[in-house]
């Protein structure tokens, strides 16, 4: 088990290094353009060149990358070109928003998908057909459009919930919860549709396995079979499904943050990429890759831990 975890950890680390390296080389490939973008179109050539030197953008991109890596090893992701603020500090102010949203959605997706997927697999019938419809709709309608529809109906039309804005949980827990209801709902439509449908498949697969028939032959009722045996056996594929959904969701979160004017990491990435504040953009990429890697790692390790063949090896 420890060996397995270490191997996954090493492969996760490799993924982080390769992806951040590739992104860095791409983003910083054209220093002159970045320098011009930070100064605006009207800046003189001399000013642009001076700016490039000042920001270190005149260096070969590989040198810049090595400097950046050096900084990362010392816990620094560089400073914003515009405010001079450390990127890590900027990210930290945005983290609570994105993490609240993501964690709540992941937990709810897991809970609802397991319930609905299991019921659909065991009971079939209208629930199963309803789930298939939801899965198609969830896959087809982009999350930000669901969000817009929610704003239009619930917030603007009905006035039940705030359409935009974020309240820190420390300021007002009730306001915080209200500000997250619609964003969470908007993402859930897509993520539950997909995850529940796939989880239904995982449960169906287990239900068709021989050992379930043998358990039934012992006179065990359907509910204990599902609760004690089938769910456990479907946990590993379920975790994979959930980790993929989570990763897919991270992209959707950027759009959702825009629709609901939530000051999260996605909003920061968008704001800074438009004014070529590339160190901050790079910081947002690092954050995303880290989340992806951690989610995958947790899913792999928990999945392996559930499987006694791996756990006891």
């Amino acid at each position: 088990m420890i060996g397995f975890t270490l191997r996954r950890l090493a492969s996760a680390l490799l993924l982080v290094v390769v992806v951040t390296c590739a992104t860095f080389l791409l983003i910083f490939s054209d220093g002159a353009t970045i320098a011009r973008a930070t100064l605006g179109e009207s800046a003189t050539q001399e000013a642009v060149e001076a700016k490039a030197v000042q920001l270190g953008l005149d260096q070969p991109v590989v040198t810049q990358y090595l400097d950046w890596v050096q900084g990362v090893l010392h816990g620094s992701l560089g400073n914003s070109y515009f405010t001079g603020e450390p990127v890590t500090a900027m990210l930290l102010t945005r983290l609570p928003v994105t993490l609240s949203l993501t964690v709540i959605v992941v937990l709810l997706t897991a809970l609802i998908s397991v319930l609905v997927g299991t019921l659909a697999a065991v009971r079939g019938g209208w629930l199963d057909r309803g789930l298939q419809l939801l899965a198609v709709a969830g896959a087809a309608v982009p999350g930000f459009i669901v969000a817009i529809i929610l704003v239009l109906t619930v917030a603007v039309g009905w006035g039940a919930l705030p359409a935009t804005g974020y309240v820190p949980v420390t300021t007002d827990p009730g306001g915080w919860a209200r500000s997250l209801v619609l964003p969470v709902l908007a993402i859930l439509v897509g993520s539950v549709g997909g995850a529940a449908q796939q989880f239904r498949g995982a449960i169906s697969d287990v239900l068709q396995q021989d050992f379930v028939r043998t358990l039934r032959s012992r006179g065990i009722g359907e509910f204990p079979i599902v609760a004690r045996h089938v769910l456990r056996a479907a946990a590993a594929p379920g975790l994979t499904i959930l980790s993929l959904q989570t990763i897919g969701m991270l992209g959707g979160v950027v759009l959702i943050e825009q629709v609901f004017a939530l000051p999260g990491v996605g909003d920061l990435a968008l704001e800074t990429t438009m004014r070529s504040d590339v160190p901050v953009v790079m910081g947002c990429v690092v954050f995303t890759v880290l989340v992806v890697v951690v989610v995958n790692l947790v899913a792999d390790v928990v999945g392996a831990w559930i499987n006694p063949k791996v756990r006891l090896a």
Binding site: L15, V18, I27, S29, D30, T33, I34, A135, V136, A137, G138, A139, A140, P142, I145, I148, I149, V151, V156, A163, G190, G193, Q198, D210, F211, R213, T214, L215, R216, S217, R218, G219, I220, P224, H229, L239, Q245, I247, G248, M249, L250, G251, V254, L255, A269, L270, T273, M274, V278, M282, V285, T288, V289, V292, N296, N307, P308, K309, V310, L312
Partner: protein
Amino acid sequence: MSTVQTTQAGLDARDARPEAGTPPGPRDDGRGGDAALRRLLHDPLALGAMGYVALVVVVGVFAPLIAPNSPNFVDLSQANAAPFSDGDFLLGGDSSGRDVLSRLLWATRGTLVACVIVLVVSTVVGVVGGLLAGYFRGRTEVVASWIADAIMALPGIVLLIALYSVIGPSIPTAMAVFGVLIAPANYRLVRAVVAQVRGELYIDAAKVSGLSDLRIVFRHVLTAVRAPILIQSGYVLAAGIGIQAGLEFLGLGNPSVPSWGGVLEQAFSAIYLNPQGVVAPAVLVSLTTLAFVLLGNALRDALQGSGRRRAATADRVAEARAARAARPSPSTAPEAEALVTVRGLAIGYPDGESDVRAVVDGVDLCVHRGEIHGLVGESGSGKSQTAFAMLGLLPKDATVLGGAVLFDGADLLADPRAMRRARGTRIAYVPQEPMSNLDPTITIGRQLTLGLRAVKRMSKDQARTHLLGLLGRVGIADPEAVFAMYPHQISGGMAQRVLITGAIAGDPELIVADEPTTALDVTVQADVLALLRELRDERGLGMLLVTHDLGVVADICDTVSVMRHGTIVEHQEVRALFAAPEHPYTRELLSSALDPEEA
């Protein structure tokens, strides 16, 4: 745990999540093309989706002729006008007073261009990569697959935002990048198909006939991957349109070119002034992605056929049952002193769209206390189905068309609740394949205890003591140790003893054993048969032993029923059967068993 990385192909990791994880059906191509097309044309959803897509294409191409205004025509009196209001603009105006309808129509062109780019890039990159990796294998494949996994692991839209400073406000470039980001879905499909086709004989044959490698790849593999790629394309396009609209909505598109996402963004920022303004662009984007997802689903159903095998309709089942009931049935009375009597058992499976095919057709048999009754036949004769019906454990698709399973005079087939109560306490089951019949995730002790306590009122400790005793009885040397083990830690023979323990734990009267020795080593087979015989002697059990092995029958059975094509062709006491088989089929079975080549 490599499965964790590879079980989900396709778009699942992307921002749209259709079911692209279905494994490819590499052989469902070419030959089935006509039938597939017919199926597609009979699917109203598919027709609707195709019609819609065709309409979008036509609108895109002829936008300049159809659109009432130029996309940048401004009528300030129409700024933020609601759709279907009195003004000149059918769908109202945006905040600058431009005609929303005209802008949407013109923007269709940008969507079409983006679609073509995503499709071409993702297909070319994915197919070429998959072909090379699958064909050359080795290091090429390792590296390519690692890259594919890495790309799949990232949310595409985050990368597209990050690369904005490089890409600039150009949707076509962004969509080309997205094409690369989504290509791993196709890559995996193609690589899997190539690996499969590669192993097949006709590639070897082609090599012998002197075709060059590349031509082999192109001719054979491309035919095989056509169908899965086509299916995938629907999902790729849906994802592409979602991403494109998303980028435009974020303001990363070219502001001087009208776009669906751009119109949506403008309408959304004026949502308090003109709430209905967001409806048209939102519906347009959603309908178009929906059309592509539905098209993908329809193509999958049509090309991979079996995806939607409907269960036989209730009417057909009723018909089949009625037809059977009309036949004269010999008797429904239980045989005197029999433990269990099966009368006129008939089981059907759905066959094709609406037919029911009987796989067991009027089976009669009975098992007495203390008797081991062999049910012999070749695979497909219906013997296992008969056994499962006696346990009330037929697969979901199966339908009981008629007959009765009389246990102590009561028909369990007609009363599923009584059947459930009987399972474990009166009727028990010993399966064929020991390993797959144990829950792999929990210890042997725990699964035996759960089973026993489901049918007997016992404390955990009582159950444990009882089960440890039984494990010792069935010949397990160290019951305590095995109790704490997981199924993968014990041998097949031990697993079968554990399953026998599970079967006898609830103290049943009848055991249905389905090929209980077939999956075991020859040396273990005799031990397990001896154990079953001893248990019968000790407990006065009745036993139905399903087998194809006449050696097993000769060894352990008292009476034999021979089954063929869903009916019992002969029933005899065992010695009589071997001495004087009556039915020609039985004679055939016996002579083939005695055939020295078989032995």
